[in-house]
Symmetry: C2
Subunit: 328 residues, 2 copies
Amino acid sequence: MANIQEVAKEAGVSVATVSRVMNGGAVTPKTKGKVEEVIRRLKYEPSMLGRNLRNSESRLLLVLIPTISNPYYSDIINGIENAVIPQGYNILLCETDSNPERENIYFDMVRKKMADGIISMDPTVNMEELKILAEDHPIIQCSEYSVESGIPFVTIDNEEAAYRAVSHLVNIGSTDIAMINSDVTFLYARQRQLGYQRALEENGIPFDEEDVYYTNGPSFEHGQQAMRKMLTGHKEYSAVFAVSDLLAIGALKEAHQLGLRVPEDIAIAGFDKIAFSNMTNPALTTIAQPMYDMGTTSAQMLIDKINGRPVESTMMSHELIIRESTIG
Amino acid sequence: MANIQEVAKEAGVSVATVSRVMNGGAVTPKTKGKVEEVIRRLKYEPSMLGRNLRNSESRLLLVLIPTISNPYYSDIINGIENAVIPQGYNILLCETDSNPERENIYFDMVRKKMADGIISMDPTVNMEELKILAEDHPIIQCSEYSVESGIPFVTIDNEEAAYRAVSHLVNIGSTDIAMINSDVTFLYARQRQLGYQRALEENGIPFDEEDVYYTNGPSFEHGQQAMRKMLTGHKEYSAVFAVSDLLAIGALKEAHQLGLRVPEDIAIAGFDKIAFSNMTNPALTTIAQPMYDMGTTSAQMLIDKINGRPVESTMMSHELIIRESTIG
DNA sequence: TCCTGTTTTGTAATCGATTACATTTCCAAT
DNA sequence: ATTGGAAATGTAATCGATTACAAAACAGGA
């Protein structure tokens, strides 16, 4: 409740001395002791608002995600938090709901100095706006990105990862492999589809656009819908590659509902290795992204950028996790 | 980049007039137009830091959760966000990891005026500290709470909800009903156990402490462990009531793994109605808490408290959701 | 004792806004 | 033209810290 003035007066010193005691400036042990006693007695806590105004920084970083309920983000966020907190920063988790208005609120926070920078993980972000904002403010893209924006990013090789997943499906004997893809306006969706296509063609399986089932969104229900469409269609498949675990889990549920056994009747592979991919029955084969590391890396890049240090985009490694949904 | 001084000078008016244009004070249309032109031209954005220092508020609210990866919290957080944003507040999602050090960082933010108040949903929170903090700062407890703390809370009737869930298990013909409970240091765990006990006793089934399987944590894996212990024990059960969906999903997976069919061999009921409870096979019977409403309610209570308005603790309604895991 | 150089402490400007109060401007009524 | 009162505008204090610079205190050497 007390402020620095009251502490100074009570201790019989100047505010500068109190500030020095707080921040480790040169002070006589005697004065230091006296001031510290008063600080304790008055329960003085320096206001961040004053300090931040003076230093014109907020030590707050924004993390943009479309929705908090997609577990894809949780490990990345964990990584970010553990990287920034020791450096005296905090993160503000910003759910945009893919709503430009929401997005603008958060962009405004940066413009108005309430936040020092942004890590964007939102594939639906308004790239035009983001690019403009990046001219004056530190911004990093994590996971979903645009190269042309010129904004540094952290990602994995989506094309190669999808290639490996689909190659694995071929290796277990599947030849009729469908794909469940989300909206190809997203870069990751295009890249993963390229990997799917390359894996088929390299194995002598012709790629057919008809085998790609597009969804209207990234959620469980969309996966169910896609699977229903696929299984009630005229073509039979022995394996499905879904572009995300959430879609794959939806597909899995729908396959069960329609009386199919996984992997015996149809194998299913996902992407992301979210926590729940291990909880389904059968457990899901998937691609592990180094979520936590992607978080810490992008966080460090952002802090570097804030402090004017040079920053390079990073491509991180991935791993194919083979589990029950693709082996008997 | 520009500040209010530069705008004032460029427009040939005083800073007060610029401030009035920004905040809707009395200004001549002519001056207003002139100032607005300069604001646009210089791309002036008022700094929140200056404003907040002057008003000694940050318009930031802290939401304390143990971990972001527990989907239990997502809808509540959604509710909070949608309630606070229209009122000009933002939330800082604070993952404590049940780590007192982390917790203290966030408590400090409130003490140091970087945040205006706290909604605590962390069952592992240090109640002593929270109570002390609540003497000087606005705090609301959501979902998990302590009555003695005197801090206002939002909750459901856990005892009654558990009673209904277990009664349902009795109604479908189960007599040997186990419980998977987390740590009884948590109030909700004690309350739900009381409901379980009452449901048994009212139906003439003796309560046996042996039938309660305690876990060391709230996650999927803990549910698996508990189920394994239960199914490899000497007693046979026809139904299980788990104190949370995450534990129930773990139990479900383990039951499958050990070759049991759900619900034919053993019925399983959860608690919370997290999004994933619908994605499992079979879908999980569970208790729906009005998550979203709990979020908006606690948010409004916190804002009321911040503004010095009186605040009352609230008990919200719940609903039993019967799904595949308890009916054939 | 006096001087010099170092260390400690204090004074006051600064960050960027808001706002109470003072002053000026404007217009209508006399 | 003068005056009064309302409306517009300006001046300067304020919020709570940090910090450059000035001033004072102190210690050691001549």
